[in-house]
Structures are given as structure tokens and as C-alpha cells.
């Protein structure tokens, strides 16, 4: 059977799997980003003068620690991590979402920390001098100014997640992995090649879809004064 025939006969299933794949990635990236941004905000308040050593030491510790752990996790082969979670959370969507979410953390956290700490010192100092408290400064000055960098981190993590999500099908996770894995395990059989090819192409379609979404979000959420 050739690729086009296969697609025509299984279009409903393929489209459903593609939508599922996009949703799967979306949820994991959303959860992961919220967690990462929250941690990032918590640990990088960027005091212009380090008078309060206690808080800064504590914050620096958490920051470096969480960066180290999330980076280390990123180097574990995804296949292994999915399987390692099996005894704890079993087969299915839960394991898939937990593991993929873990993979999304590092890039967003790294970019959040980098973006927040790169905010111009003089801007932060004048904010403090005008009577901005720590929280107000963080939310109304640092976060909007760091947002382009953070958003870029989310974008990169989304692209990486699209391919890692495929692996989730070995724990019966959702998405295009099912199609690809079926094809790969039955390589040589008549439908195997069309399945792998279509799975791959559909991953690219999902990636293109997210790229468009990000271009729109960027346009809408980056403040006008700092748009390049």
C-alpha cells in the first residue's frame, strides 16, 4: 500500500492522533512553564544591592539546584524515564504527562532566570528609588521585560517536546507515537513505511502549527516599547 492510499483510508485516525499529539504537548508545556516560571520568579528577584544576604543565599541555592536537577533530567534518555515511572504511576496518560512535563522544565526555567536577571540594573534601581516594592517590581517591571526571553524558552521547549512526546506511546501515552511506534516495530511489513512517514510529517505539521501560534502570541503579548 502506498503512502497516499494509507492516508486516505486512515485519515480520521491520523487526524485524531495529530490533534491528540498537539493537545498532549500543549498541556505538558503549559504545566511545565507555569512551574518553571514560578520557580524562576521566586529565585531571581535581582536585588540591586545585596544587603539581605540571607534571602539571596537561599534563593541562589534553589536556583542553582533546580537548574542542575532539570538539566540532569534532560540528559536521561526519554525512553528510560518513561519506563522508570511505570512502577509508580502505571501505564497510561498520567505517566506520559508527568514525564513529558519534567522534560519541559529546564529550558523555560533557564530562560526565565536569564531573562529576569538580565533586566537593566538602572531600571530596577530607579524602580526601587520610586518606591516599588519587591513584588511589584518583579511582576510589573522584571517579568514584562523578561517576557520575550521566557516566551522563546517556551517555544524551544515546545519543539523539543513534540519529538519526545512520540516516545510516550511506549507507556500507552497519547499522540502520534502510536502510529510511529506501530510502524517502527513492524518495519518491513506492508504498512510500516507509510505509518512512519506519515507520523513524521504529522509531527512537522504540529510543529508548524505551534510556530504560528507563537508568532501570534509574541505579537500580542510583548510590550510595544521593547518589541524589536
Amino acid at each position: 500500500m502506498n503512502v497516499f492510499q494509507y492516508f486516505a483510508e486512515n485519515s480520521t485516525q491520523i487526524i485524531n492522533l495529530t490533534i491528540q499529539h498537539a493537545q498532549f504537548v500543549f498541556y505538558c508545556v503549559a504545566i511545565g512553564s507555569i512551574i518553571s516560571i514560578a520557580i524562576g520568579l521566586l529565585v531571581s528577584t535581582g536585588e540591586p544591592n545585596p544587603n539581605r544576604f540571607s534571602f539571596d543565599w537561599w534563593a541562589t541555592g534553589i536556583r542553582e539546584g533546580s537548574l542542575l536537577i532539570t538539566a540532569a533530567v534532560l540528559t536521561i534518555p526519554s525512553l528510560a524515564l518513561f519506563v522508570l515511572f511505570l512502577p509508580i504511576t502505571g501505564l497510561g496518560v498520567t505517566t506520559a504527562i508527568i514525564v513529558l512535563t519534567i522534560y519541559t522544565l529546564y529550558t523555560v526555567l533557564r530562560n526565565t532566570v536569564a531573562g529576569l536577571t538580565a533586566v537593566d540594573r538602572s531600571v530596577l534601581e530607579s524602580a526601587r528609588g520610586l518606591g516599588y516594592g519587591r513584588v511589584r517590581r518583579l511582576l510589573t517591571i522584571q517579568l514584562p521585560l523578561a517576557w520575550p526571553v521566557i516566551l522563546n524558552g517556551i517555544r524551544v521547549t515546545t519543539l523539543i517536546s513534540i519529538s519526545i512526546a512520540v516516545v510516550a506511546s511506549i507507556v500507552q501515552g497519547p499522540g502520534l507515537g502510536k502510529l510511529l511506534l506501530t510502524g517502527i516495530t513492524r518495519i518491513g511489513a506492508s504498512n510500516a513505511f507509510p505509518q512512519v512517514l506519515i507520523g513524521t510529517v504529522m509531527c512537522l505539521v504540529v510543529a508548524a502549527f505551534f510556530e504560528i501560534i507563537f508568532a501570534i502570541v509574541q505579537r500580542l503579548t510583548i510590550p510595544r516599547g521593547i518589541r524589536v
Binding site: S122, V123, E125, R128, G129, L130, G131, Y132, G225
Partner: protein, 360 residues
């Protein structure tokens, strides 16, 4: 002097940074009267910025008291305190993602002003600092030049009409010509707003030009002298100050002396006075009464001497400048309308300048 006439009082204020043994600012006592500009000056690292930031508690003093308008603010909430004190820094520090109007409105907004009132205030202040509101209010900081950003920084600090302004080298990163203009505008604005201003600089010229008083800091955070500019230049308190003020103090002092404070020589515009024997120069004037050339000069060829003028609002320094520039040994001092008010001779400079009492 009663307590309320002093806006800022520092009592034995000291700062020792954590991890260092020597104080950055050493037991500082300083009193700043209402409505005056005090210039903090001294070599790099002598504690000027530290002193300034202790006034609004951006830096917490290690010991000592800070009294603002009669109220001890050493232990009040720092953020709330800072909303009542204007603060301008060298790099401007404008928020890049806020429009110019929003930048100016940040403190009023925190203080809960009404939206319309904030907008009107922003326009009013843009006007005050010489930026056309309709052109600039909706721009973003990156669309402004450095000098314009600095003006917005000043406007932002003035927004909630704080009685006190702290300025840390506000014109430090600006080219000399623009800086000169900003300084003139700054004095003009101060005439309108009458704030109590603490101003850090490391430019003695700037300190002399803008300051009602100058605080000279020595290395190690010691206040070496706190006096009016004339006294600092002419009577340095110790070797450090005289070294710091350096040679050329006499020349610098010229820029302190306003022509309006001098006893000028009379000048005539009446043709009948030509040939007078009492030494009064006679100028030829145009239709509006403005001097254009000399008709008669005592012991000199009037036709061979250029007539140069300097405004009465200028300083002796300006007068010397135009005399050198025009190779003239005398200069006509004119008022705002350009009418002659008197003359200043080159010889007056060495003979000693006679001043009238200063009216304040």
C-alpha cells in the same frame, strides 16, 4: 534656625558595608535647609552615592538618624518613604516598556491618583522639562535621545510633587553642550518648583554653578567641608579640599559672580555726551535702543573697538568670554530687552570686582 526650616537632617549617620571594616560614610552630620540645592562632590568611591541613598533608605544606615521635614524616618517603611522623595539617576532608568506618559505617572499611580489627573500631570511636566507633550507622551524611552530621557527622568521624579529630590549624577553621561543646557533648564525649573535637592556630581564646575551649598567629601567617607560655593573656592577648609578644588579657583569663581550683583560703570547713549571728560563711554543705539557700536570711549579710538554685549543675567565668566572672543577691553551689559545697563572693563577684573549686597 527652627527645626521646620531644615528639610533634611542627618545625625551621626554612618554606613559600614557588610564584609568591610572601614566605613563608606563616616559619622555624618549634615543639615539641608528647605528649598536649597546641595551638591555632594568628591573623588570616586568617597561615599557620595551611599550618602544620597541613605536619605531615601535605598541603603540602610548602620547607625545614626535621618530626619525629613521634622519627622524621623530612620525606621519608617522604605517603599512608602521613597514615594515621597524624587529620585533621578545617571542612566535615566526609565521603564522601557512604559510610554513616556506612563513613566512619568508611576508614582502618582501608586499613590492612587485619578487617571485624568495623572495624564494632565504628565503633560504639565513634559511641558516643564521642555518636551512637547503631544509629540512625546505616547513614545517609548528608546525613541528618545539620552538628554531627552534624562529630562523625562527629572519629570518622573517631580510627578507627585515631592518636597525633596535626590539626583545621582543626573547629567553625568551627557555631552558637555547638552549638559550645559540641561543645567540651565534645571535651574529654571528649580526657580518654579523650589525643591530641596541633593545632587551628586563629580564636576566642580557643575557643583559651583548649581549649588547653594557644596558638600566636599574626602576619601573614606569623611565630610571635609560644607559651605556655599564661594567659600569652598576661596577658603578651602583643609589641604584635601584645596587640593580637590585645585588651581584655577579664582577663574572658577568668575562663573559664580552674577553680573547683576556687580557695581557696573555707567554708559551713555546720548550723542551730546560724546567727548565728555568723566570717562563715560557713549554707545550708538539702534531704533530699539540697543547698542550697536561705540561713539566715544575715554582715551581710546571708539571706531577701532568692537562693541560686545553680555546679558545682565550672565556671570563675570560670560563677560570675560565675550571680551576675549571680540578682542574688546570692555563689554556692555544689557538687560532682557537689550538695553544697555552699564559696562564692565577688563581692568576691573584685576582691580577687584565691586559687588552689591545680594538680595534673596
Amino acid at each position: 534656625m527652627s527645626e521646620t526650616e531644615n528639610m533634611i537632617v542627618l545625625e551621626a549617620v554612618e554606613k559600614v558595608y557588610p564584609g568591610s571594616t572601614a566605613p563608606a560614610v563616616e559619622r555624618l552630620d549634615m543639615t539641608i535647609p528647605k528649598g536649597e540645592i546641595v551638591m555632594l562632590i568628591g573623588p570616586s568611591g568617597c561615599g557620595k552615592t551611599t550618602t544620597l541613598k541613605m536619605v531615601n533608605r535605598l541603603i540602610e544606615p548602620t547607625s545614626g538618624r535621618i530626619i525629613l521635614d521634622g519627622e524621623d524616618v530612620t525606621d519608617v517603611n522604605g517603599d512608602l518613604l521613597r514615594r515621597k522623595i524624587g529620585y533621578v539617576i545617571q542612566q535615566g532608568g526609565l521603564f522601557p516598556h512604559f510610554s513616556i506618559a506612563d513613566n512619568i505617572g508611576v508614582v502618582p499611580k501608586m499613590l492612587g491618583w485619578d487617571k485624568n489627573k495623572i495624564r494632565e500631570r504628565a503633560d504639565e511636566l513634559l511641558h516643564l522639562v521642555g518636551l512637547e507633550p503631544s509629540t512625546y507622551r505616547d513614545r517609548y524611552p528608546r525613541q528618545l535621545s539620552g538628554g531627552q530621557q534624562q529630562r523625562v527622568g527629572v519629570a518622573r521624579a517631580l510627578a507627585a510633587d515631592p518636597p525633596v529630590m535626590l539626583m545621582d549624577e543626573p547629567f553625568g553621561a551627557i555631552d558637555p553642550i547638552t549638559r550645559d543646557r540641561l543645567q540651565d533648564e534645571f535651574l529654571e525649573i528649580q526657580r518654579t518648583v523650589g525643591k530641596t535637592i541633593c545632587f551628586v556630581t563629580h564636576d566642580l564646575q557643575e557643583a559651583v554653578k548649581l549649588g547653594d551649598r557644596i558638600a566636599v567629601f574626602a576619601t573614606g567617607g569623611r565630610l571635609a567641608q560644607y559651605d556655599d560655593p564661594d567659600t569652598v573656592l576661596t577658603h578651602p577648609a583643609d589641604d584635601f579640599v584645596s587640593d580637590f578644588v585645585g588651581g584655577g579657583a579664582a577663574v572658577r569663581r568668575l562663573s559664580l559672580l552674577e553680573l547683576s550683583r556687580l557695581e557696573l560703570h555707567p554708559v551713555e547713549t546720548d550723542v551730546a555726551a560724546v567727548g565728555n571728560q568723566n570717562g563715560t563711554p557713549v554707545a550708538e543705539v539702534d531704533g530699539a535702543g540697543r547698542p550697536v557700536s561705540w561713539r566715544h570711549l575715554p582715551d581710546r579710538d571708539a571706531a577701532g573697538t568692537a562693541l560686545v554685549t553680555v546679558p545682565l543675567s550672565g556671570t563675570v565668566y560670560d563677560a570675560v568670554d565675550v571680551m576675549l572672543d571680540g578682542s574688546a577691553s570692555l563689554v556692555a551689559v544689557v538687560d532682557d530687552e537689550g538695553l544697555p545697563q552699564g559696562v564692565l572693563h577688563w581692568n576691573d577684573l584685576v582691580a577687584g570686582l565691586k559687588t552689591r549686597e545680594r538680595e534673596r
